[in-house]
């Protein structure tokens, strides 16, 4: 009895130290990979440019109360539709990018808008990736009826004009931050599901998964240990593409008046408010749009670099 428990604990210790060694090795490998990635970042000026743009936007979002020159919601009827500072004679440094139709400072609203636009995109992409990856694993790993049902849902989703679905949902529940996120999640899970399913179908046939199964690994463990790490880089690449895509989609929905409550400034809702003034006040439309464009450009530049590092097979150049 005693000897068997002793043998057990010895085996346990050996297993533990072996797994520790393996972990150490894998940590060293991942350190090395990161070092290589950072080196390649230094050689890639467009990725650095993207990183700088994104850092500015994230900085603005985080420190909005400290850096924005005015209260973004402060209405001032005496200062309606002031042009940007360089446009004489009304423009002044007090409102660098001018004011909107009720006299609110455009620059402050863009800075605060970064908070909402970025967090809406990040939250919705996180949720849709969680949903999409789970469904993709389910469809790819278990196959049969799960696969059949999920893939038909994918087909339906792909053939349903998304924007019309979004408008209908907004008409049902009203425009709000929560509903916007729900619509964006429903809109974007498909991409993950398709890619993850495809990868799982390939991985499931590999010898190491076969070996794990023969060794008595449970499905959950096989998926966690052997399949997820291998599809991770694809997921990350789609993730960056999706954040960019969702920023644009959000602005489109907000532009149609289906985004968030009117009091909250997002870049898309600013575009929606400015559309009645395009004949007289071009700056209402121009600056929030530029904010979207540069942010998405930054994400795309960085996304290209991430794809190059993670997935050499997908290299564009």
């Amino acid at each position: 009895m005693a000897s068997s428990s002793q043998a057990n604990s010895a085996a346990l210790r050996a297993e533990l130290s072996a797994s520790q060694a393996a972990e150490k090795a894998s940590r060293a490998r991942s350190r090395q990979r990161w070092r290589r990635a950072l080196l390649s970042l230094r050689r890639d000026p467009s990725a650095i440019f993207g990183l700088i743009i994104l850092s500015i936007v994230i900085f603005a979002a985080l420190f909005a109360p400290w850096i924005s020159p005015h209260d973004p919601g402060l209405v001032d009827p005496l200062k309606r539709l002031l042009p940007p500072f360089w446009s004489e004679p009304q423009g002044s440094m007090e409102h660098i990018l001018g004011t909107d139709a009720v006299g609110r400072d455009i620059l402050s609203r863009i800075i605060y808008g970064a908070r909402i636009s970025l967090s809406v995109s990040l939250i919705s992409v996180l949720l849709s990736s969680a949903l999409g990856v789970s469904l993709g694993l389910l469809a790819g790993y278990y196959g049969r009826w799960a696969d059949a049902i999920i893939m038909r849902l994918v087909d339906i989703q792909l053939a349903y004009p998304l924007i019309l679905f979004a408008i209908t949902v907004a008409a049902i529940f009203g425009a709000s931050l929560r509903n916007l996120i729900i619509v964006l999640v429903i809109a974007n899970w498909v991409t993950y599901t398709r890619v993850v399913r495809g990868e799982v179908l390939v991985r499931r046939q590999t010898q190491y998964v076969e070996a794990a199964r023969v060794n008595g690994c449970r499905d959950g463990r096989i998926i966690r240990q052997h399949i997820l790490p291998n599809v991770f880089s694809s997921i990350l690449v789609i993730f960056t593409l999706q954040v960019a895509f969702v920023l644009i989609l959000e602005s489109g929905l907000s532009f149609l008046g289906l985004g968030v409550e009117p009091t909250i400034p997002t870049w898309g809702s600013m575009l929606n408010e400015g559309r009645n003034y395009i004949m007289t006040a071009w700056w209402l439309e121009t600056f929030p749009g530029l904010a979207i464009m540069f942010t998405v450009l930054g994400i795309n530049l960085l996304g290209d670099w991430i794809r190059d590092v993670l997935d050499p097979q997908l290299r564009i150049d």
Partner: protein
């Protein structure tokens, strides 16, 4: 081949039934059209009930759906609540404008992407290549409706070269088509560049060069043809995005297409028109995707469908 076609058609029918079910239910959750239609006349309860009976809204929703489906199969999508004309003909009237806009956007994208993608691939690493890559990335990074508004501000309001809204001759089409096509132009340029680079490093290109074919001959006959295969896949997928983007662009430019019709119809709770538009757009999308898959076999004889 025939097996494949039959299977695809079977799936498509399944998808269409799913879509019809979703649009049928969601549009009914948006609100009561009867109260909206009769809101001016201070209607009595009998009036409301009579109206519901006329519009076939007095029965339980599952019964309504089965009735709808049975009629829709014969091409009868009911009559518009607002205009009393058949919903299908209302949508079909607007469809040419939407397809015209979408195809124009696609042509703009292809016309921009082909020269830029090929030049970029051939002059790889040069400042020209860098410029093309940056421009195509900027094209992808803009919301299409915002580009539309900027075009309106520049060419419509300030320079007065082009009309800002409505439809008519070619000059009405220019700005909406550029706005809608720019993102696709960026995507296609990037894709064509990378796929040309892939192809240009292949053995058969070296062979073609070695046997003395001119550079242009190699590019057009050998490289471009094979580089087109991934481009074709994306074109099929992007067609859906274009149709969706058209909905917003049509609203920006007051373009009289299905997108504008369906947005106003959702606002008016005009169930039959919303249902007919969504289902018809889905039919177009499914058809285009099927055609693209069939076209594969023509462009790339190695691909067989089964």
């Amino acid at each position: 081949m025939w097996n494949y076609l039959i299977q695809r058609l079977f799936y498509s029918i399944f998808v269409l039934i799913g879509i019809s079910l979703i649009v049928f239910i969601t549009v009914r959750l948006t609100g009561d059209p009867v109260a909206m239609l009769l809101q001016d006349g201070n209607p009595s309860q009998e009036d409301l009930d009579e109206m519901r009976r006329l519009l076939d809204l007095d029965k339980p929703v599952p019964v309504q759906y089965v009735n709808f489906l049975a009629k829709a199969v014969t091409g009868d999508f009911g009559r518009s609540f607002r205009y009393s004309t058949p919903a299908l003909s209302l949508v079909l009237e607007r469809m040419p404008a939407t397809l015209k806009l979408t195809l124009a956007a696609m042509s703009v994208a292809v016309l921009i992407a082909f020269p830029l993608g090929i030049i970029s691939a051939v002059s790889r690493g040069s400042p020209l290549d860098f410029g093309v890559r940056l421009v195509s990335l900027i094209g992808i990074s803009m919301p299409n409706f915002w580009l539309g508004i900027i075009l309106i501000i520049i060419f419509g309001v300030n320079l007065r070269w082009l009309p800002v809204s409505g439809s008519g001759g070619l000059k009405y089409l220019i700005m909406p088509a550029i706005a809608l096509g720019s993102a696709l132009a960026g995507t296609l340029t990037r894709l064509l560049r990378s796929s040309m680079l892939d192809v240009l490093s292949d053995d058969y290109i070296r062979t073609a060069r070695a046997k003395g074919l001119s550079g242009r001959m190699v590019l057009t006959r050998h490289a471009l043809r094979n580089a087109l295969i991934p481009v074709l896949t994306i074109l099929g997928l992007q067609f859906g995005l274009l149709l969706g983007g058209a909905v917003i662009i049509e609203n920006v430019f007051a373009w009289p297409g299905v997108g504008r019709l369906v947005v106003t119809s959702i606002g008016l709770r005009d169930y039959p028109v919303v249902q007919a538009s969504v289902i018809l757009l889905a039919v177009i999308l499914l058809t285009v995707n099927l055609l693209v898959d069939l076209l594969y076999t023509v462009v790339d004889p190695r691909v067989t469908l089964d």
